[in-house]
Every structure is written in C-alpha cells, then in structure tokens.
C-alpha cells in the first residue's frame, strides 16, 4: 500500500456536525440522517447561513449536534418557527427536522400550512411509526395491527383509524416544489437519501420552493428488535405502506418553481391567474 493511499481520508465527521456525543440509541438511523444533513451543509458551503429548527422527540437535542445556528421548537411547531426565521432572514437556509408524532400528529396543521404556503424551507421528516422519546407509543404513522405501548393489542383501525401517508397528502397541495420518500437501510438507499436531502436544500437556495423529505426509519429500542431485524421489519411492513419515490418535483415536471406549477394547475381559474395586487 502506498503512503498516499494510507493518508487519503475517505470518510470523516462532517464539519457541520459538532464533535459531541448524541443521545440517539445504538442502531438508530437518526445518526445517519443527521450526518447527511450536515454533509449537505458542508458540500453546499452553507453552515454559516443555515438555521435549523429541531422538534420535540428523539431529535430534541439536535440543537447540540448541528454546528449551524439552531432553534428548539415546541412540539409540532417547527414549521411555524421555521416560517418566522425564514421570513426574517430570507437569504438564510432554514430547515426543520421532525419525527412522526411531532410532524404528523400534534403539528399536522403547521406541517400542512407551511407546505401550502410554499414556505421556502426544507423539512426533513423521520417516520419510524412510533413515539420513540416517550417510550414507544402509537404514532400517526403506526401501521395497522402494529403493537405499541398504547396499542397493546395492535393498532385497531376500527377505533384508532389509519396511518397518515404524509408525502401523498402534501403532494395534493400547490405549495410544495419537491417531495420525496427515502430510507437509509443500505448504502445505496443512504446515497439516494443524501441526494434527496441535498436537492431539498439546493431548491431552497435556488428559490424553487418548499421541499419535504420523508425518511422511512426504524426504532430498534421501542420496536424491541436488533438494528438489522428492525430494517428487515421496515422493508417488509413499512415500505409497502410507505412506498419510496418522488411524490412531487415541479422542476422535473418542467416548471421553474412551485409558483409556476401552481399557476399552470389553476390556468382555468380567472381570479387565480390575475397577476399582482389590485
């Protein structure tokens, strides 16, 4: 082995991730996704102008992990907090990092309305179908018949209703520019997730619009499985319910941004096509 090869750094902690110990459980994919977000900041050279908003949930302490400026939001309110931050400093890059209980239950109103306003923010959504931080309660995305602490006989859809497919829901709105669902169980999937996250940030920089990346994830601790078994369970049960893929991409559809795509969709509505304030 030559000396040059020995010195070549092929992998390191991203600069935008602070050298601290996280509070994530062993085998938790949060660590991977935190890294992907930090790598994105490094690669785009935006750590200095990025403001992250972290939620209530397992990533509640993420303000200690990311090197950019951080705001800790109340439960579910990250999109509203991010809206305030972005409106004040529109040249900053603002992202919200949220789990399923935070984003799709208590914060569903904030989620939907930030999306439909087309806020120029990037939302990273970790969906592991359970409330991890509080010890494994049923989440809005828990699957039918999934056993959790608060669905001990399995999620009964007759009384607890059905899981929310957030990407599909948000894709009906005009506000979002880009919506993709990814996962991080294999190197190939991690690379795809990274690409999606990077695109979500790039869209914001380019003024294309609101971007939403759902990462289908696991919770080995509260699922009561090894990390590898958890990924297998995720592949077997979650991916059929939450299919990976792009749910909206206005640029791929041939539009310059979300506003143009929305205008095209409303082309037959006279009032919607009138320009400017009267």
């Amino acid at each position: 082995m030559s000396e040059t090869n020995a010195e070549k750094i092929v992998f390191k902690r991203p600069d935008s991730l602070l050298p601290v110990i996280t509070n994530y459980c062993p085998g938790c994919p949060h660590g991977i996704v935190n890294r992907l977000v930090a790598e994105t900041m490094d690669e785009l050279g935006i750590e200095g102008k990025t403001v992250g908003v972290c939620p209530v949930g397992c990533s509640v302490m993420a303000y200690k992990f990311f090197g950019c400026d951080m705001i800790e939001a109340a439960h579910g309110r990250a999109p509203a907090v991010a809206t305030g931050a972005k409106r004040v400093n529109p040249d900053n890059v603002v992202f919200a990092y949220q789990g399923d209980g935070d984003l799709a239950s208590i914060g569903m109103a904030e989620t939907v309305h930030a999306a439909t306003r087309g806020e120029h923010i990037s939302v990273i959504f970790i969906n592991n179908a359970i409330y991890g931080m509080t010890g494994g309660q049923m989440a809005p995305t828990s699957l039918p018949n999934q056993v959790t602490q608060t669905s001990p006989y399995g999620r009964q859809v007759s009384s607890a209703g059905y899981p929310v497919r957030v990407c599909e829901l948000l894709a009906t709105l005009d506000g979002p520019a880009y919506i993709e669902r990814v996962c991080v169980d294999t190197p190939a999937h991690v690379r795809q997730a990274k690409k999606a996250i990077r695109k979500a940030f790039q869209n914001q920089i380019d003024g294309i619009g609101y971007s939403f990346i759902e990462v289908v994830s696991t919770c080995p601790t509260n699922w009561g499985m090894t990390p590898q078994d958890a990924f297998a369970w995720m592949r077997e049960n979650m991916l059929p319910y939450y299919p990976l893929g792009v749910y909206r991409d206005v640029v791929a559809d041939g539009y310059a941004n979300a506003a143009e795509a929305a205008a095209a969709r409303a082309a037959d509505c006279p009032i919607a096509t009138q320009g400017g304030a009267r």
């Binding site: 403001v51 939001a73 309110r77 809206t83 305030g84 400093n89 109103a109």
Partner: protein, 354 residues
C-alpha cells in the same frame, strides 16, 4: 411636536408598533382585535415588512418565536380565547429569553364568552399565561394615546429584558377613536448578538432554546430570570394618581374601567367625598409602591374592574390588611356606569367613616 390625528385604538396599536420598528406581524382573525390585523395587512407590505395570517393562534405565536429568535421586532395580537391558545408559545418565549410584544384586546370569558369588552384576563396575564415560572411586563393603557405610547415602549422593554411584553386593551379601547400624537419612527434598534441569524463562521453557533435536562442548570436559569424580574419590579412600575393626596377612599382601576372610575371620583368630590383614583399602568410589575404610599392616608380602597374581582387580590396584597379593600365589577361585556361606581364610593365612605 407631532401632529395629532384621530385614530381608532386598534389601528393605533398597529401604527405605533410599526413606528417602534416592528416589521413582522403574525396573527389569526378574532373579534374585537380585527382592525389591528387589517391595518397590519394593509401597511406591512408598504413598509417592506411581513404580515402573515397564520393557520392558528398557536402557529402565529410560534412564528413570533422563530422571528424573535432571528432578531426581529415582532408582534402578534388576539383577543381572550386566542390568547389562551398562544399561551404555549409565550411560555417558550419566556423560557428561551426571547422578546416579543403580544396584544390582548380583551373580551368576555370564560370559553367563547362574548365579543364585548372585558378585563377578565388579568389573572392570565399577570399570573399564568402558560406553564412554568415566568412573568411578562403587562401594560394597561386607558386612552388611545397611551395605546400608542405603551406599545412603543413595550418593544424597548421586551428587548432590554429579553422577555415577552403584553398590552392589555379591551374591546372598548380598541374600538374607541381619540386624537393621538404618534411617535417618531425608530431607526436605531438594539443589536442582538444572541440571535439565530446564521453564524457566518464568525462566532459559535447561537441556540434559541428552553430545554434544560439538568435540574441544577434549569434551577440556576430560573433564579437568574427572577433576579431580572426583581430589577423590573424595582424600576418599571407605572401608575397614575388622581386626587390621591388627601384621599380617604382610593379607587383602584385600570384601562377602560379607570376612565369610568375617574368620572365617578369627580362626581364624588363634588359631593364632598375625599376620594382619589390610583390607576395601575403596569399590571405586572404591579405598582405596589404607589399603593403602599397611599396607606397612611387611606381609610378604604375600592377596586373597580370589568371582571369578577382579579386585580383586587393584588391591591389586597399591597395593602396588607391595613384598610378594607372592596370590589365592584361587572362582567360579560357590561360596562360599569359612573353612577354605579359613585354609589359604591359613597357606601364605602360611609362604612369607613363610622
């Protein structure tokens, strides 16, 4: 001297906020603060500012939280039921030491209550707008001019002490038109080195946060915050005294009910009753010093409020049992008449004169 203009209270709150440097307003429709939001919607785009109608009061106050963390002068307004919804965000503002101005144009409660004027959110504003140990500076204007003056001041106080400040108006003051002299536009706003504006690799990362999982750390921060509150109590109490120097009876009233009480005091003076009006302008910090100054002279106190008796407890705490403190109030949007107040003054005067 600036020109006087005739304006509605709710609109003055908005205009004065803009002049104080507020460029971000997040709100949600509710009566009777309506004109305030409408004014902001019209004016903010012309000021290069942001008016955003949020999806809920909860979202609005959290937008305030994000904007405040990002260094802006920011305001939200609502009326009583909407303020209840904002209480979560106000607690987080206090816990993260973030400045903001919150307007409550009070209406009757509890529940949906009424859309008529009320003062029944006194306890909420001064005791418990949200969970946890915290206070807000609360101003209670009683004229349209004071609405202009105190919203203007509230932004400075909020920034100075890094805390939420509230203006307690009510449906009567909000709808009232009076001549008002507006302040000059503020251009020199305080620097906020703590704000989450992006560190540009020039400083450590800033964090806006209210979470402290180490008991000792949270304990220390709460004590630090309350030391700041002690400073505020010592320096920020505001009140007005009217004919209090020789008063046997001191009427204590704030906001709209103080306007009525003043008429009743004047009428009682004409009947030879030695009565004065003490009008708290800050509800927190409560003007304890001003109340205590009246104790050597006063034989009795009458608290007049548009509620079932809330501020009267603070008056009693200040008077410390040294004179009787009585209460007269109307609720539900019923505004006390000067005659009703006068009758209560005369009755108390007879009682303490015996």
């Amino acid at each position: 001297m600036a020109e006087k203009v005739l304006m509605k209270g709710n609109e003055v709150l908005a205009e004065s906020a803009i002049r104080a440097g507020c460029r971000f307003f997040f709100g949600y429709p509710i009566t009777p603060q309506t004109e305030l939001s409408a004014y902001m919607a019209k004016r903010m785009p012309k000021e290069g500012g942001t008016f955003l109608q949020a999806e809920s009061e909860i979202a609005a106050i959290n937008m305030v939280y994000g904007a405040s963390a990002s260094g802006a002068r920011v305001m939200t307004s609502s009326s009583s039921p909407g303020i209840s919804l904002k209480s979560e965000g106000v607690s987080y503002l206090a816990g993260a030491d973030l400045p903001a101005v919150i307007i409550n144009v009070m209406r009757g409660g509890p529940g949906l209550g009424s859309i008529q004027p009320s003062q029944s959110d006194y306890w909420q504003a001064t005791r418990a707008l949200g969970h946890g140990d915290f206070q807000m500076v609360v101003y209670a204007p009683s004229t349209v001019q004071e609405m202009a003056d105190y919203v203007y001041r509230a932004f400075d106080i909020a920034d100075k002490y890094r805390m939420p400040c509230m203006i307690m108006a009510d449906g009567m003051l909000g709808q009232m038109m009076e001549p008002v002299e507006l302040r000059e536009r503020k251009t020199d706003l305080p620097a906020k080195p703590w704000a989450t504006t992006g560190h540009q690799h020039k400083r450590e990362h800033n964090v806006a946060n209210s979470l402290y999982l180490t008991a000792e750390e949270l304990d220390r921060l709460n004590h630090e915050r309350f030391e700041r509150y002690e400073e505020i109590k010592a320096t920020e109490q505001l009140s007005e005294q009217y004919l209090c120097e020789d008063a046997d009876i001191v009427v204590v009233a704030f906001g709209a009910s103080a306007r009525i009480a003043r008429n009743a005091v004047r009428a009682a003076r004409e009947q030879g009753v030695k009565v004065g009006l003490l009008r708290p302008i800050t509800l927190w910090p409560f003007p304890v010093d001003a109340v205590r100054a009246t104790i050597p002279q006063a034989k009795g106190y009458l608290c007049v409020e548009m509620n079932m008796g809330q501020m009267v407890e603070d008056v009693r705490l200040a008077v410390e049992g040294q004179a009787p403190v009585e209460f007269f109030g109307r609720t539900g949007g019923v505004i006390p008449t000067p005659n009703e107040v006068l009758e209560n003054i005369i009755a108390l005067n007879e009682k303490v004169g015996e």
